[in-house]
């Protein structure tokens, strides 16, 4: 049994089920997925292995979603910060004009 391949197949199935791609671009997420796959490898032959396979797939998918939200929030904060700074600068320029 190739756990890594089974795991990847389940992740691909998840994309089909939800119609959404996983935001797997970050190194942190890749490391997390690798860690979960490594844990799965230790469970081969255990009672409930299929349950664990699905649970780990779910965990990686959730982590990917959480990562996407945090990246989005950080990007929003950066944009708002830039705009706020720009508006403050412009307001001062207008006041002294």
């Amino acid at each position: 049994m190739n756990v890594a391949e089974d795991f990847k197949e389940l992740l691909d199935d998840f994309v089909q089920e939800t119609g959404r791609g996983l935001q797997a671009g970050t190194a942190e997420l890749a490391a997390y997925a690798a860690g979960r796959s490594a844990h799965l490898s230790t469970l081969v032959g255990d009672p409930g292995f299929a349950v664990a396979l699905r649970a780990e797939r779910d965990a990686v998918a959730l982590k990917a979603g959480i990562t996407a939200v945090r990246q989005g929030d950080a990007a929003d904060q950066r944009i708002v910060g830039l705009i706020h700074g720009g508006l403050s600068f412009a307001a001062k320029a207008l006041a002294t004009a």
């Binding site: 959404r20 935001q23 664990a52 649970a55 965990a59 982590k63 990007a75 944009i79 708002v80 412009a90």
Partner: protein, 130 residues
């Protein structure tokens, strides 16, 4: 005049940044929420296992509220869901499965990891972050 143009450009930038849905809200709606909806039925099994029969009213209320949010496809309704009560019950359900020798301790760790990520996901959707 130049400053006014600058202000106008900044205002347009702000509108543009949020007109397509600010990135964080978009990620919640289009990435995390579909995942939570997909995973919930499996987490719910652990919650119901741990809650026992009959399911105590406070736990059933949070289950019903999460089900309602999913039925309405509205993650903003999650504010009424007590994630602590759900995760506590699910943890007991996972323990019960180990005690019944249905799953190994290692498999239980996988279920607990999913539960941790699910709880974190609910927090992110509520916008509280960690």
């Amino acid at each position: 005049m130049r400053t006014r143009h600058y202000l106008a450009a900044l205002s347009l930038l702000l509108v543009a940044a949020c007109s397509g849905g600010c990135a964080g809200a978009q990620a919640r709606s289009e990435v995390l929420w579909p995942t939570v909806k997909n995973v919930w039925p499996r987490v719910k099994q652990d919650v119901e296992r741990g809650a026992g029969t009959p399911i105590p009213a406070p736990i059933q209320t949070s289950i019903d509220r999460l089900d309602a949010a999913i039925a309405a496809d509205n993650w903003r309704q999650l504010d009424d869901v007590d994630r602590g009560i759900l995760t506590n019950a699910a943890a007991l359900g996972i323990r019960d499965r180990v005690d019944a020798e249905e799953i190994s301790e290692g498999v239980a760790e996988s279920l607990r990891e999913r539960l941790r990520q699910f709880s974190d996901a609910l927090q992110e959707l509520k916008g509280l972050g960690l």
